[in-house]
């Protein structure tokens, strides 16, 4: 395939998912400027590696590159944010079990939800975006973000618990069974 045909194929199969790429980059980076940098770099890298794309799922493929590009960018530009490694052990199931006092959660407006998502650690935020906005399965998220499927599930549970708390559907009621 010559370069022009390659570009044409890339524009037809991968670039339609630029919105998804930007959306993920925007949620991860937290602002438009950095998100554009990440999404652009990821798109150019995707074209560079387009030869190794085997036609499976172009959206998942592109988002994998966006995610990797973002973490490289993060290491370089905001190393402090990933300095505190997540302690996956601390995310034990007991934490998300029935120890909380539930309240009726009302659908929150977009601005509230946005703030709640932004408050999540980036690794949790990533899971929420991939699961709720992009609709990937646990397995797909595990492949995409290169973590075990169990980690995907525990991070999702943890993220949802925090969101529930932020949005008023759950109150920490220490010790009540």
């Amino acid at each position: 395939m010559d370069e022009r045909e390659r570009l044409k194929a890339f524009e037809q199969t991968v670039l339609p998912y630029l919105d998804a790429a930007y959306n993920l980059a925007r949620w991860l980076a937290g602002n438009d400027h950095d998100a554009q940098d990440v999404a652009q770099e990821a798109s150019l890298r995707a074209f560079k590696f387009f030869g190794s794309f085997r036609g499976e799922n172009p959206r998942a493929w592109l988002l994998t590159i966006v995610r990797n590009t973002f973490y490289n960018w993060l290491k370089k530009n905001r190393p402090a944010e990933i300095a505190g490694e997540l302690n996956e052990e601390a995310l034990a199931v007991e934490d998300i079990s029935a120890n909380a006092c539930m309240a009726n959660l009302h659908q929150a407006d977009a601005e509230m939800v946005r703030r709640a998502i932004d408050e999540l650690p980036v690794e949790f935020r990533e899971m929420i975006i991939l699961r709720e906005m992009e609709g990937f399965s646990y397995k797909e998220i595990a492949d995409l973000s290169d973590v075990p499927i169990g980690t995907v599930m525990s991070r999702l549970a943890r993220a949802r618990k925090q969101l529930q708390q932020s949005l008023g559907g759950e109150f920490q009621a220490g010790g009540v069974k």
Partner: protein
């Protein structure tokens, strides 16, 4: 199923990742347990909150443009474009220079034919000056012909044209065009005609019109795989007559 078991499954259920057997169990529990039913409703509400259209960011047009521009410049980079032009220009000028040189060389240098005729004339003149016209003096073609045996690697057709007024007076070895050739010597009045013969590389050709060089006339033809050059100070008309006689008379 109790609440401890049910609660973690609610998310899986909401995500569509729960297997059928446990779906039935969980649904039964939710039906019977108000607290887990609330958790289930909250999970669905949260999902709905997170899927709001307003939460999706769409790629800004300038990002789309920037990516397209960058990709297209990579595929058809300006540098390459220039390289191509540059290469093309060099190739063209190189070709022009080559052509010019070729023309100069070709025009300045005598052609192979010119070189050959010059050589023949020189040989003819030399043979007259050095009184070395003949190695074998014989008016008998049957003496001259065998004389060449072993001296050249071919057998020249030797004819006597005495009847036509061009008596054969002898033969000689000579060196023309980088090879040994046979020269037959004829005479008309005081004029000597040298007839150079060697194996032809080309097809038969009819006698060409006479080429005048330095006051001598040359006529060339090919016949029966032999190349013939007749050269003499004879006038053109008589040399043509000689050639006609030679080509038409039998061996």
């Amino acid at each position: 199923m109790n609440c401890q078991q049910a609660r973690p499954l609610i998310d899986f259920y909401a995500d569509g990742e729960l297997d059928a057997a446990r779906i039935l169990e969980l649904e039964k529990h939710i039906h019977d347990c108000p607290a887990c039913a609330l958790a289930w409703r909250n999970a669905q509400t949260l999902k709905k909150s997170l899927k709001q259209e307003a939460l999706f960011f769409t790629a800004p047009p300038e990002l789309r443009r920037a990516i397209k521009t960058e990709l297209h410049s990579q595929v058809k980079p300006r540098a390459n474009f220039w390289n191509w032009n540059w290469l093309n220009a060099v190739t063209t000028s190189f070709a022009s220079v080559c052509l010019a040189l070729l023309l100069i060389v070709t025009l300045a240098r005598p052609s192979a034919q010119q070189q050959l005729t010059q050589e023949i004339v020189s040989s003819h003149v030399r043979s007259l000056m050095a009184n070395h016209v003949m190695d074998v003096i014989s008016t008998d073609q049957h003496t001259v012909k065998p004389w060449f045996n072993g001296k050249v690697d071919f057998s020249p057709p030797v004819k006597d044209l005495a009847a036509q007024g061009f008596p054969l007076i002898g033969g000689r070895l000579d060196y023309i065009g980088g090879r040994g050739v046979s020269a037959l010597v004829f005479q008309r009045r005081k004029h000597v005609i040298n007839l150079y013969i060697w194996p032809a590389k080309e097809k038969d050709s009819k006698p060409a019109s006479a080429i005048p060089i330095q006051g001598y006339n040359l006529i060339h033809w090919s016949q029966a795989e032999m190349e013939f050059w007749a050269v003499s100070d004879l006038n053109e008309e008589e040399l043509v007559e000689f050639v006609q006689d030679y080509t038409t008379s039998p061996l």
